[in-house]
Symmetry: C2
Subunit: 378 residues, 2 copies
């Protein structure tokens, strides 16, 4: 059953021939740009640059990555990346492809790109988009790899919509059970990409197959979805559920209770999706990497679980726990839980999302964890 090197080579040649056949359908070779170069940003840049180098008939060879310039020692980070092919600051010890070029000038990176991969911290998205204003993106597309939502008392907005509105380009999303350090080390995983076709789509333009060809790697398996909202919501709300998983762990309730919180979490994510984005598909949460799998990975460990666990054990304020445990980083679930609570309160819907609300209340000392089961009981 174990395949030989020859069989593997033949399979690779076959798949490259398939790529060439597909390429005949496109109007040009597409130029790819990556906006952001943190841990996850660089890991995804590595993926798309590998595919650009390999699928020569589909993509321009060079992939440019915008790097917010900083000094490492007395050198520019961009120079280190371009000389040594390693992002020593945010993804050390991972060799990057030679065709991935770091560039500190964002407009230089973005102008002329057919597809922009956005991958930076949520809080910088607006200001980074502002730096690209005026560039003609009328026939460009984007994929947002950001995990988050713009939630406020007024309503919910997808981050892909922020990109669309600010820049006038068509934006899909990528999300999944993708811990960056594992992806960067080419440990196998799956992801979900939602890329509904733009209004201006004509045959020959970027489509789902092209998007899959750009992100799919032997170690990074892509499933394509049409559900931009579902994929986005999964990546944001899982952080709140992960705090709940941490609370239950910290209370010493065991694996049964943790699984119950996660199960209820999936159901409330579905409800949140269909409530605020009609047309959201429940299957995105139950069947896709961006749903159940990302939730599982996030609840297995990570910052949000740690914060929840520590709160249940010590009762210290969340901000204090963040400072003590996270070394300057933040647990996104704390912010999302507060914003979601504010939204639901404003919309008079607190009773309809008992788990999300209870997690917020427990984590803020307004509800004792012993009351959580009754709160979410049918």
């Amino acid at each position: 059953m174990v395949s030989t090197a020859l069989e593997r080579l033949q399979a690779l040649q076959g798949s490259l021939r398939a790529v060439d056949n597909v390429a005949k359908n496109y109007r040009k070779k597409f130029r790819i740009a990556v906006i952001g170069s943190g841990n996850w940003g660089t890991a995804v840049a590595k993926i798309v640059a590998e595919n650009a180098a390999e699928k020569k008939s589909l993509f321009e060879h060079e992939v440019r990555m915008w790097v917010r310039q900083e000094k490492v020692g007395d050198m520019n980070l961009t120079d280190i990346i371009n000389l040594h092919h390693e992002n020593v600051r945010y993804l050390p010890e991972v060799r990057l492809p030679d065709n991935l070029v770091a560039d500190p000038e964002i407009r230089n990176v973005a102008e002329g790109a057919d597809l922009l991969v956005f991958n930076l911290p949520h809080q910088f998205l607006g200001s980074v988009c502002d730096q690209m204003k005026g560039i003609d993106f009328s026939r460009s597309s984007a994929i947002s790899c950001l995990k988050g939502l713009n939630v406020s008392a007024q309503g919910v907005e997808l981050l892909s919509n922020v990109v669309e509105e600010k820049l006038g380009l068509h934006c899909g999303v990528l999300s999944g059970a993708n811990i960056a350090s594992e992806v960067a080390r080419e440990k196998w995983c799956e992801t979900t990409v939602a890329y509904p076709l733009p209004k201006w789509y004509k045959p020959g333009e970027i489509d789902e197959d092209l998007i899959k060809a750009l992100f799919h790697r032997p170690y990074f398996h892509v499933q394509v979805s049409s559900d931009t909202a579902g994929v986005s919501i999964g990546g944001a709300l899982k952080n709140v559920v992960a705090i709940g998983a941490g609370l239950v762990e910290g209370a010493g309730w065991g694996d049964n209770a943790k699984a119950a919180v996660m199960r209820r979490g999936i159901l409330e994510m579905i409800k949140f999706g269909v409530t605020f984005f009609p047309g959201t598909l429940p299957e995105t949460f139950t069947n896709e990497s961006a749903g159940v799998a990302d939730l599982i990975t996030s609840c297995a460990g990570g910052r949000n679980v740690k914060v929840g666990r520590a709160f249940a054990r010590t009762g210290k304020p969340l901000e204090e726990i963040e400072k003590e445990l996270l070394n300057g980083q933040s647990a996104q679930g704390i912010i999302t839980a507060r914003e979601v609570h504010e939204l639901l309160s404003e919309k008079n819907m607190l009773n309809e999302f008992p788990l999300l609300v209870a997690i917020y209340e427990v984590a803020h000392g307004k509800l004792h964890i012993s009351q959580l089961p009754d709160r979410i009981a049918d």
Copy 2:
């Protein structure tokens, strides 16, 4: 927000009044028997005896539990349980209700019971049923808490069907993310009970509400389902997926890969259900405690994960690993994986369940784990 003791008492009184109102609808107080007294058997017996003692208008006070007699020191296990209200052999340090009576005579336990709760190891089910032959169960019901299926090259049979066929009583199932030691210590969890009404049902007989009243506790939350097959299949196939999770862990692939295996596992469980039991509901696997939550708990740890992990690390034969790691116990997933493989092979369906087949093949040295991702790729 923290409720006072008075509020809690009032809530309890309210729910007991509700029970009394419900009771008027039933033809009698029902007599409950438990068949089996291992770890999980005793934990469930504790639950139903607590409810029988509390909901006096619904259930006869005494709950009899069949215990296969054995000596502990120079005393009978049944005498210890009845004297000290503790199953010192299989569930030590957990106080059992006074109205739970251990009895070594199975016919004495079963005769006259309106509802029998089956909870013993899969391999003893047939012979235990044989000991009850001839008892009139024509108006009795059962709930099977066994996790498993009868799978062979010929086909698949639910264990609840075995009970029905051998004894002529109507049998539902209970399954969920329910590690016995946590349930026994009253750590909150959820479970799923499927109890479709029997053909001979008339108003006044046992129905879903009664079943929920029997199993639901403040620490053991019951969701009722109609999907006997789905609930049963979840409890059996999760053990195979848990071996897969262990293989991936042992190979050092990380949390992303483990979540991918679990996600694929849910999808193949659904497919297995609808293929062999048309009418099985996909939601049972994606939404219920007996589906996704039980899978999560099982993949968090437990025997099957341990065995898979050790195999990936050492390559030793599974039987050897079981002996070394499990102290005489068996990893049910090994048997189920083999039986499922045999069935799919016989039905010419190996290609339709790539994950279940790959787990079997990797665990038996017929496939290298590095090939698993390609095997299950879309």
